[in-house]
């Protein structure tokens, strides 16, 4: 193929890819891009599926097929195998394997060693891409083959530079999807258009397989088991796989789709591989097996197909190098660089990190290329096998993270380092420099560090790794932090967030603190976290602030890596020293677990499901209680606020749970604080005055504090007793007035006779001694006796109740009120006092005319005496809600003194001067209103003066 032809095909392919990319990146194609994720995964494996798989089939027969089957199992079983890690994504987002290992085993050493180890074990993967790229370029460039190496390096560097910046993420994924699709298509086309026709059809191919002895070759399975295990293990740790399988950016529907679609795509590639392999063998191609995908169509003279294959292989190798080196660069930067950086000094943090990732990715790719150039010319399969054995050294740590809580940091690190050392000596160095004999036995045989012995070295590395981890963990002590996170990562653990106390008390304080640590990026992070949680910037509830901190930690972990993010947050948003001293695990945020269970309860089975039903039942009982229930922790945080409590207080449950006692309105806060501080377990009939009315409550607190000292809870029960208190007060008032009445009757009877005698004696004295001085004295004496007589008459009238002789009739209230005004000597500083009558002319009540007239005259007189000079008295009469009559006598005086109000209907209680009133007027009014069947209420007006409100029942004749 001439260089011109190659250039033309390349140009045509670039135009086609550009058009496809433009179409895919339109906004409405996002859904389609999500569906293309399995294709992206196929491309992320690089030349394994374009060249390595053919070589593996030729070398290991069915062993190679079974290995690739194992490679896809991780996705088929991901809903089960990866669930423990995926559950933790609710708490922290893991971008890489290193983040998860750092989260579980804690410490910078874990972060550094794990990322360095992953870079080293991934180098053979990058080298494989470079080798495949160089081999192909050599064939394509022909006379200029010497340029192949430098061209490959340049291509890789340019691809990284163009595609790795953060803003090109969508383009990179779309290109990888196109590349994956191209690889599958070209493999299928080569198999069906070149390989099968070369035999003359499928039946002829089958005959050839038997006749050529390939049937025995392909049936070899001696290395199938180690290959199967190795590929399963490597696929868990492979950075690209980890990112896709565990990223929470991927929706559950996508996880379900990948579980079957990705294995299907790999199956299609692998199935097409065997005809290509056999066709190449039958054609006796001089190309190595790994180059058959290009060499076969080229040898068959199929120019377009061979160009298509070449471009697919080149694109796959470039994109794999680019994405893999970027992931490795990110791990290194997160582990080694970001923990030492003061983010506040960086203006554009995202851009800063992105630039460094691109630069480091180029360095890693070029370093891998340099190593490959100086390497031992091993095949693609060798590179993949060596890399996979290295990746497998991380599997014990990953498995232990979810299943073995006793494996600690020291055990993990020692096991990993020793396992990697064995791998380095036994496989990596031989890959670079060739076979080395390490030990020579007596019979001349020995242990050779050789790629041919890879199953032995893989087993040895795994045994050393696991044994060292177990022994070191058994011999070393683990910190409380290590134990806590080990427990947190367990597969059967239910995560309950700790109820820790933050140093910040509001979102504004958090923003200030975060700005000091994160610079300009703080605002963006905080806004995103607030939007995700649906919180506003005025939020002050401790539980919500904790939730906000957790969300910030989760998002920052993805961006900065877990270690750097947690260090930064520990500085910026620290947890109070008291919480740390007490141990976070002691105080669990049960409301958060409640919400988690509410969402995920469908996943529960067996006894867990039954317990969940019991939980819901108890919760419903608590909510349905006819009394308010509140639970407080020892820091005053509200943990429970049931439905009745919300009804009693008017404060909704959603707002109160997680809030502090200090966030309550002043009256409720004072009441709860009084009860909590009190030695008494109950507070009875405590009044709370609201804007609308006065209410009374009984409160009780639990006799025993729930939980440990620090995680204690106090249960408070609140019951409204307003109705009972009002009834009791009315009862007491009536009893008191009745006893006063009886007492007054006795007094009136005993006083009446002596007073009559005094009056008679005074009159006798005046007639017998007619002089001015005696006249004056007897006049005064008679005046006072008349006053006493009037009092006695009132007492007697009250005692009789005047209920026997009344004549009930339907009376027009307006007319009666006008008569009362006429009869009352209302005087406003020498002028008749103005009376503003606003009584409905049709208003009528059933009452005794004289008694009601007496009531109105008494009340008008009181109003007159209380009012200032010239101020009018207002009479307002309306129908009330029950069709009864409501008549208000409103004055504009100084009102009634508050201490006097509860006793105002008692006899001899008055606010007037001693010579102005007897204190019996209201007492009489009260009794007369009772006789009528009505009621009187006396209260001060909001502005000035007082109102006497007469309430009459609905007249019997009124409809």
């Amino acid at each position: 193929m001439s260089s011109l032809t190659v250039a033309l095909y390349a140009a045509a392919a670039l135009v086609a890819v550009a058009a496809l990319l433009r179409w895919l990146l339109q906004p409405r194609r996002e859904r389609l891009l999500n569906l293309l994720l399995p294709l992206t995964l196929v491309a992320s494996h690089g030349v394994l599926l374009s060249g390595g798989v053919i070589e593996m089939a030729g070398r290991y027969g069915y062993g190679g097929v079974i290995a690739l089957f194992g490679f896809t199992l991780i996705f088929a079983l991901s809903p089960i195998l990866l669930e423990p890690i995926r559950r933790l994504q609710r708490l922290v987002r893991f971008a890489t394997t290193v983040d998860f290992l750092t989260f579980r085993y804690r410490g910078r050493a874990v972060s550094l060693i794990a990322s360095a180890g992953l870079v080293v074990v991934s180098l053979p993967l990058l080298q494989a891409q470079f080798i495949a790229l160089t081999d192909l370029l050599e064939q394509l460039l022909g006379d200029y083959a010497r340029l192949a190496t430098s061209s490959a390096v340049l291509l890789i560097a340019i691809t990284c530079w163009l595609l790795l910046p953060r803003r090109r993420r969508e383009v990179r994924f779309a290109l990888m999807a196109i590349c994956g699709a191209a690889l599958i298509t070209v493999t299928a086309l080569v198999a069906t258009q070149v390989a099968l026709p070369s035999f003359g059809g499928l039946a002829a191919l089958n005959d050839w397989v038997i006749s050529s002895g390939q049937q025995q070759v392909i049936h070899r399975t001696e290395d199938a088991y180690p290959l199967f295990i190795l590929f399963i293990a490597a696929s868990i740790v492979l950075p690209g796989n980890f990112l896709v399988a565990l990223s929470d950016r991927i929706k559950p529907a996508q996880v379900r789709q990948i579980a079957w679609s990705y294995p299907l795509l790999v199956l299609l590639v692998t199935m097409a591989t065997l005809p290509i392999l056999w066709s190449g063998l039958a054609s006796q191609l001089d190309s190595p097996l790994q180059g058959y995908l290009f060499a076969l169509p080229a040898a068959a003279g199929n120019g377009p197909l061979s160009a298509f294959a070449a471009l697919a292989i080149i694109a796959t190798a470039l994109l794999c190098s680019c994405s893999l080196s970027a992931l490795l660069a990110r791990m290194v930067i997160n582990s080694a660089v970001l923990p030492t950086i003061n983010f506040a000094t960086i203006a554009n943090l995202n851009g800063w990190i992105s630039r460094r990732i691109v630069n480091l990715a180029i360095v890693i790719s070029v370093a891998a290329a340099a190593l490959a150039s100086a390497g031992n010319n091993a095949s693609l399969t060798d590179h993949y096998l060596v890399s996979f054995v290295g990746l497998a050294q991380f599997v014990p740590g990953l498995v232990a993270a979810s299943y073995f809580p006793n494996i600690g940091r020291n055990g993990f690190l020692i096991g990993l380092v020793l396992g990697l050392l064995v791998w380095l000596v036994g496989l990596f160095i031989p890959l670079m420099v060739g076979e080395t004999v390490l030990l020579t036995g007596l019979a001349g045989g020995g242990l050779a560090a050789s790629l041919a012995n890879w199953p032995l070295w893989a087993l040895l590395a795994a045994v050393v790794n696991v044994s060292a981890a177990a022994i070191a963990s058994a011999l070393s002590l683990r910190s409380r932090e290590e134990r806590f996170f080990a427990h947190l990562c367990m597969v059967d653990n239910v995560y309950v967030p700790a109820r820790v106390e933050l140093s910040q008390r509001s979102v504004a304080e958090m923003q200030t603190a975060l700005h000091g640590a994160l610079g300009r990026a703080a605002e963006e992070e905080l806004s995103a976290a607030l939007a995700q949680l649906g919180l506003d910037r005025n939020e002050q509830r401790p539980a919500k602030l904790r939730q906000l901190r957790e969300r910030l930690a989760r998002e920052l972990s993805l961006r900065l890596g877990h270690y750097a993010a947690s260090r930064m947050l520990e500085r910026a948003l620290p947890i109070s020293e008291q919480s740390l001293a007490n141990g976070a695990e002691q105080r669990e945020d049960l409301n958060r677990i409640e919400s988690v269970l509410a969402v995920g309860s469908r996943e529960l089975t067996g006894i867990a499901s039954e317990l969940n039903r019991l939980r819901i039942h108890h919760l419903e009982l608590l909510e349905a209680l006819p009394v308010g229930v509140v639970s407080l922790d020892n820091h005053g945080e509200i943990l429970l606020w049931n439905r009745k409590m919300a009804e009693l207080s008017g404060l909704p449950r959603e707002r109160m749970v997680g809030a502090s006692l200090a966030d309550l309105p002043a009256d409720w806060r004072a009441l709860f604080e009084q009860l909590v501080a009190s030695q008494q377990l109950t507070i009875n009939s405590h009044p709370l005055a609201s804007a609308a009315s006065k209410r009374w409550f009984n409160l009780q607190k639990s006799t025993e504090v729930l939980g440990d000292d620090d995680a204690s809870e106090q249960l408070l029960v609140v019951e409204e007793v307003t109705e009972a208190v009002l009834l009791a007060q009315q009862h007491i008032d009536r009893d008191r007035l009745a006893s006063i009445g009886r007492f007054a009757a006795g007094v009136a009877h005993e006083i009446g006779n002596p007073v009559t005698n005094i009056s008679l004696l005074a009159q006798d004295l005046r007639s017998e001694l007619p002089c001015a001085e005696v006249d004056t004295a007897t006049e005064q004496l008679l005046g006072q006796t008349q006053r006493i007589t009037a009092i006695v008459q009132s007492l007697l009238r009250f005692t009789r109740g005047d209920s026997g002789g009344e004549q009930l009739e339907l009376l027009n209230v307006a007319e009666l009120a006008a008569e009362a005004v006429r009869l009352s000597p209302l005087d406003a500083g020498g002028q008749p006092r103005p009376v503003d009558s606003q009584i409905d002319p049709a208003l009528a009540v059933r009452a005794d005319r004289h008694q009601l007239l007496q009531v109105l005259i008494n009340l008008l007189r009181n109003a007159d005496q209380a009012s200032t000079s010239g101020a009018p008295i207002t009479l307002r009469g309306v129908l009330d809600a029950n069709n009864g009559c409501q008549l208000d006598i409103i004055d504009a005086g100084s009102g009634i003194a508050e201490p006097l109000l509860p006793r105002i209907y008692e006899p001899f209680v008055t606010s007037k001067a001693p010579d102005q009133g007897t204190g019996l007027g209201l007492w009489v009014v009260y009794q007369l209103m009772r006789n009528i069947g009505g009621e009187i209420k006396l209260f001060n007006n909001p502005t000035a003066g007082a109102t006497a409100r007469l309430l009459f029942p609905k007249p019997a004749s009124q409809p």
Partner: protein, 59 residues
Amino acid sequence: MLNYRTVSGLLLLCVVVLPLSFQWATAADGHWWRPFVVWSLLIYGVFLQQRRRAGSGDE
């Protein structure tokens, strides 16, 4: 949570289905495409299981 159905299914797969399938697929006189048949069936099983999960609203 321990899902007994899943665990039983996996046990059955590992102890019965996979060994028998492996034996059949790699039989010396068998056609070369047999392993791919087994692989296809397993993918179909995963597809059915995921479709059921999607239908029941699990996740």
